[in-house]
């Protein structure tokens, strides 16, 4: 929509004015890097600003720049006609505050996220988006992870995995990440001798170990959460809840049923989720996931049969 383009450009034009008012004369290259456009675009923007002004549009009514500086590809604002950057629109405020809230809710965001959120809401007021239950990450554990990451030391963790198995392992922590609403620790696990992405709310204890971090961080975010295969599950609408919040799920809904397509990183874990709505399942693809489902179901029956 043409209107959207105009909103984007006017926001940047006002941004350039505001930047120059606060930072002083700035070359086009730095403005380009700051606003994520080309230097040629900045030159066009400055030219447009130079032509704008108050009704009358004589020289003293116009936004003005230093002409010599312009020839040197430097924007030096000499008269802004009182223009400044404008306030956040309601949608913008809600988008920014909502995204910050979502990051805080994962328990993985640095303290600066909460303080930035506080500053924004103080100024903008409530936007209608609230975090009700942040992921339960023990502040003491979080503190020792932060400390170990900062000092590049390994840390010994007690971890309960997705199958509720507890293990003790020494890992080299790299960074905290937020993926699909949950907080994780990205690390190199010395026990598995591979990269791991561990959920923060499943870490029961974390103790610094006197071993320096030697492995470089993984190239890719959430490395060990990568999908092994794609699954397609058809389920009656009553069973929708079990599939609707699977990571990266795509849902197709008809009157009677829901078809969910999602990547599977851990077939046993996905099978466990499907068991929760077993009476509503219509079909499960591929065979790999059916096998995992059959095995779990048979084990459950073995201990619950009379």
């Amino acid at each position: 929509m043409a209107g959207d383009r105009a909103v984007g450009r006017v926001t940047r034009l006002l941004g350039i004015i505001e930047y120059l008012e606060t930072q002083g004369a700035t070359d086009f290259a730095e403005l380009a890097a700051h606003f994520g456009v080309s230097a040629a675009q900045i030159e066009k923007d400055v030219t447009l600003l130079w032509l704008s002004g108050r009704p009358g549009y004589s020289h003293e009514d116009l936004i003005d720049f230093d002409g010599f500086a312009f020839d040197d590809k430097v924007a030096d604002l000499t008269n802004a006609q009182g223009l400044r950057q404008v306030s956040y629109s309601p949608r913008e405020a809600a988008a920014l505050i909502g995204a910050l809230s979502a990051l805080v809710a994962t328990g993985a965001a640095p303290d600066a996220a909460s303080s930035a959120l506080g500053k924004l809401t103080t100024v903008v007021g409530s936007t209608g988006v609230e975090v009700v239950s942040a992921t339960e990450v023990d502040p003491a554990i979080r503190g020792s992870l932060d400390e170990s990451i900062a000092t590049r030391h390994a840390v010994e963790l007690t971890y309960v995995d997705a199958h509720q198995r507890r293990s003790v392992r020494v890992v080299e922590p790299h960074r905290l990440v937020a993926i699909d609403g949950a907080g994780y620790l990205e690390c190199y696990c010395l026990r598995a001798d591979d990269y791991r992405t561990l959920r923060l709310d499943r870490i029961e204890s974390a103790t610094a170990v006197d071993v320096m971090v030697t492995h470089p961080p993984a190239e890719k975010l959430g490395f060990s959460l990568d999908a092994g295969f794609a699954a397609t599950v058809r389920v009656a609408r009553a069973g929708r809840w079990a599939v609707e919040d699977l990571p990266s799920v795509e849902l197709e809904t008809t009157d009677a049923e829901v078809t969910a397509r999602f990547p599977v990183a851990d077939a046993d874990w996905a099978a466990g989720r499907l068991l929760a709505v077993a009476p509503h399942l219509r079909s499960v693809e591929p065979q790999e996931l059916r096998d995992a489902l059959a095995e779990r179901a048979a084990n459950v029956l073995a201990v619950h049969g009379d």
């Binding site: 002004g53 009182g82 209608g128 509720q164 459950v300």
Partner: protein, 326 residues
């Protein structure tokens, strides 16, 4: 030379900021560069057409100013009949000053990128352009923190706007307890709760506060009410928690070294041969049944009997589907 829409908008903003009292539509058309002025030599039909074109353009521009976050004040003057004038109050329109530390700047930048490509993603990027207008380039710090981009549903984005405008909405909702129905509600709050998003709203038909899971909204969210038609309460009669269910207590037998989440949630209640017994209180019966099923034989419901039977029935149903007999 034709004036671009951006230049016309800037001229309009500057004019409305500098006007002493107000500018009427005629003032704007006559003096703001970028609008098509009245041409006295034109015949009546052409003049009428041009006026209509101007009116449409001005309405669009006013809407664009609103989307930019600029409040345009309407000023009526009795001295001039009842015609409407407009102005922008610079103190209301200016970006409020916020002093972000370098690490706060870095995390705000990440947040602005969090919903990229999703509904509200464009709005978040624009908010970042505004916030960063006052930050020196390269000020943001490198953080040991990263995010994968998340998706916010179209429903959530539409509801955020409805809350801002205090406007009732209508959508199709697949309720777990009462089936599918069209719901008309006055949205109050969006709740983010560990990966699941909820809407707290006043249900107009049921005349009560209700909590909706956003992922169960199965249609587009339509704005159906008038803007500003209701007040959002500061105190919520039903609280701000996703609704609870029945409560109960179960005894669960667990294999050694298994079921740590259940162990942490419950209390030790002795042993049964190789199995550890744990008393587990539960809010949602579905949750406990699901957890025991997911443990795939490493957990066994001891009591209540009906929950134990349910678990067995579920496992049997899963076997049927897994063997292609669903």
């Amino acid at each position: 030379m034709a004036v671009s829409p951006e230049e016309r908008l800037l001229n309009l903003i500057i004019a409305l900021m500098h006007t002493r009292v107000r500018m009427t539509k005629d003032d704007i058309r006559a003096s703001v560069a970028g609008y098509d002025r009245v041409d006295d030599s034109a015949d009546e039909a052409t003049a009428k057409k041009r006026k209509a074109t101007f009116e449409r353009m001005f309405e669009r521009d006013k809407d664009t100013l609103r989307r930019l976050g600029i409040p345009v004040v309407t000023v009526r003057s009795q001295a001039h009949g009842d015609d409407i004038g407009y102005r922008i109050d610079p103190s209301q329109a200016t970006l409020p000053p916020i002093d972000f530390t370098p690490s706060e700047s870095a995390v705000v930048a990440l947040a602005a990128d969090y919903w990229r490509g999703a509904a509200l993603g464009a709005d978040a990027s624009l908010a970042w352009v505004k916030a960063s207008s006052r930050m020196a380039h390269g000020q943001a710090e490198e953080l040991p923190f990263a995010t994968a981009q998340a998706r916010l549903s179209d429903a959530a984005a539409a509801l955020v706007e409805a809350i801002q405008l205090r406007q009732a909405v209508t959508f199709e909702y697949a309720s777990a307890s009462s089936g599918d129905a069209t719901r008309t509600v006055q949205p109050w709050r969006i709740l983010l709760s560990g990966g699941a998003d909820y809407l707290v709203a006043f249900d107009v038909d049921r005349e009560a506060q209700r909590t909706f899971r956003l992922s169960r909204v199965t249609s587009t969210v339509k704005l159906t009410g008038l803007p500003g038609a209701y007040e959002i309460p500061t105190h919520f009669p039903g609280g701000l928690k996703p609704a609870g269910d029945t409560q109960g207590e179960a005894i669960v037998a667990l294999r050694p070294e298994a079921g740590h989440a259940l162990r942490n949630a419950g209390s030790h209640a002795g042993a049964d041969g190789d199995w550890d017994l744990v008393t587990v209180p539960y809010v949602h019966r579905d949750d406990l049944r699901g957890q025991v099923l997911a443990l795939g034989g490493a957990a066994r419901i001891v009591e209540p009997q009906d929950l134990r039977d349910e678990v067995a029935t579920y496992a049997a149903a899963a076997l049927e589907v897994a063997h292609g007999r669903g």
